[in-house]
């Protein structure tokens, strides 16, 4: 019995962790489904939606644009030196384009926006939770999921693909700038190669990814903020958790989506 006791405690701890995880996941799924259902049911809050669109979309442009610009440039340099080992320097334009559009545009853009937007949504809703503003909404006959969560989910899901698309264009321009100024590519050859090898599926898949990432970003921010613990410490923890969970979910979802969209 005495030998088994620590094992029992250990197994019980694992069991508790699994139960908490399952319970937590179930609650999160329910939260997401409820909030999404409010997107389709009136009353709607267009003003709130517009405000979120500005904040999530418009104000994320500089971050996403700069990320894409430097990534495109670095990618061009890497592929040039890497490709040089097989005398394949000419693949630079197409690989930069495909890499940006299918993978790096949405993923890096998503991660940057996760840092910016998940955190600020979690901090905002967390503060509203802690100062009882969310309770006050309820007592004023306004469903917080409808008023706070649904507009943020919708705005992020719609804004992310647009941001990713702009990121794609800027990233390709970054590659182009490096290719032409540093690697000796002919400008028109560079652009032609890009156009020839890039397909609609490449672009489309990246935009689908971006939409999913946008949903994840808003969902994690809202979920963590909505369930924030009490006090300033609770809000701080909610903010950190939102960024970490959104980032990891984005990377995991990226792998799953890539498998689904481009099965090997």
């Amino acid at each position: 019995m005495t030998i088994l006791a620590p094992i029992q405690i250990f197994l019980a701890a694992i069991g508790r962790a699994v139960l908490t995880l399952c319970g937590g996941t179930g609650a999160l799924v329910l939260f997401a489904l409820r909030s999404v259902s409010h997107v389709f049911r009136p009353p709607w809050y267009p003003l709130e939606f517009g405000r979120q669109l500005m904040r999530i979309g418009w104000f994320s442009l500089p971050v996403v644009g700069l990320t894409a610009l430097f990534t495109g440039g670095a990618l061009a340099l890497q592929i040039y030196t890497g490709g040089g080992r097989f005398n394949a320097e000419s693949v630079v334009p197409s690989i930069v384009a495909i890499g940006m559009v299918r993978e790096l545009g949405p993923v890096l853009g998503g991660l940057m926006v996760a840092g910016r937007v998940s955190a600020s949504i979690a901090a905002e809703l967390g503060t509203m939770r802690v100062t009882e503003q969310i309770d006050a909404l309820t007592t004023l006959s306004t469903n917080p999921l409808k008023y706070l969560v649904a507009p943020r989910l919708l705005a992020a899901t719609l804004a992310m693909p647009v941001l990713a698309f702009i990121g794609d264009v800027i990233g390709i321009m970054g590659g182009f700038a490096v290719g032409v100024t540093r690697l000796g590519f002919n400008p028109s050859t560079y652009i032609n190669t890009t156009w020839t090898y890039l397909t609609n599926d490449d672009v489309g898949s990246g935009l689908i990814k971006a939409a999913v990432f946008g949903f994840i970003i808003a969902l994690m921010g809202c979920w963590q903020g909505y369930n924030s613990g009490r006090g300033a410490q609770g809000v701080g923890k909610a903010t950190t958790n939102a960024v970490v969970s959104a980032s990891i979910l984005i990377l995991a979802a990226n792998y799953i989506l890539t498998e689904a969209l481009f099965p090997a």
């Binding site: 100062t131 009882e132 503003q133 309770d135 006050a136 004023l140 006959s141 306004t142």
Partner: protein, 253 residues
């Protein structure tokens, strides 16, 4: 009490994790009556109000509003009959003062046009002693007493039948507290509303209450008319209303 009570709680229990807060609260408030709940901090006074509002779901027990049981399904309809002043004000800090006051009129079903809602909001602000100039300020620009008054104006904006005030005078200077007390008494009398107020300010109790209930260790320890409060020989009530350090209520909680 022959009339159906406006609010009836019976055997309401609530625990947060391993911490039991309410252990069976039984309480009735008659229509048009002003009940004040007293009790030490952290004894579950706010939780009691939030259970009635449906913001917190009790683990056990029943709550009836106007004779009908409050369920998750009819909660939204019930809430339109309630007004609530939160302990910390809970003003929406992204909105101006008048938008806060007019929130219910500007959102959801039967929303009013902007100009009309603003007019009503300014009227309500005047009712709680605030000038129209405050209407366009943000809550963060106001003093604590003014924030409380905006909270009051928001709570009464749509003339609710039932109003809850959670510590309306805590953190205010005695004069401002007096003003708020008088205001609450007037509003309740003039609107004929049923009121439940939480406070540990005995001046407030005497100014606002028709009836008093004391909560202790998750139950209603004592209740009765205000006049009876001073005559009761209940040692808990006696200790609380006279603020004695010695007595059955442990000072360390």
């Amino acid at each position: 009490m022959t009339q159906t009570p406006m609010i009836r709680m019976s055997g309401v229990e609530k625990a947060f994790g391993s911490k039991t807060v309410l252990r069976g609260v039984d309480l009735e408030v008659a229509k048009g009556e002003s009940l004040v709940i007293i009790g030490g901090s952290g004894t579950g006074k706010s939780v009691t109000l939030k259970c009635v509002l449906g913001i917190i779901h009790p683990d056990a027990g029943e709550i009836e509003i106007g004779g009908a049981p409050a369920t998750r399904r009819n909660r939204e309809a019930l809430l339109s009959r309630f007004g609530m002043l939160f302990q910390g004000g809970a003003l929406f800090d992204s909105m101006t003062v008048w938008e806060n006051v007019a929130f219910r009129m500007r959102h959801g079903h039967g929303r009013l046009p902007r100009a009309q809602a603003r007019e009503i909001a300014i009227e309500k602000l005047r009712r709680v002693g605030l000038t129209p100039e405050t209407a366009d300020l943000f809550p963060a620009e106001l003093s604590g007493g003014m924030q409380k008054r905006v909270g009051l104006a928001r709570a009464i904006a749509t003339n609710p039948e039932i109003i809850f005030f959670d510590e309306p005078t805590t953190g205010l200077d005695p004069i401002m507290a007096g003003v708020i007390n008088d205001l609450i008494r007037e509003l309740v009398t003039e609107m004929g509303a049923t009121a439940m107020t939480i406070t540990h300010d005995m001046t407030s109790v005497r100014a606002i209450a028709d009836r008093v209930a004391m909560i202790h260790e998750g139950k209603i320890r004592w209740q009765g008319d205000v006049e009876e409060m001073d005559r009761t020989d209940d040692p808990y009530v006696d200790q609380f209303i006279h603020g004695k350090a010695e007595g059955p209520i442990a000072a360390i909680r």
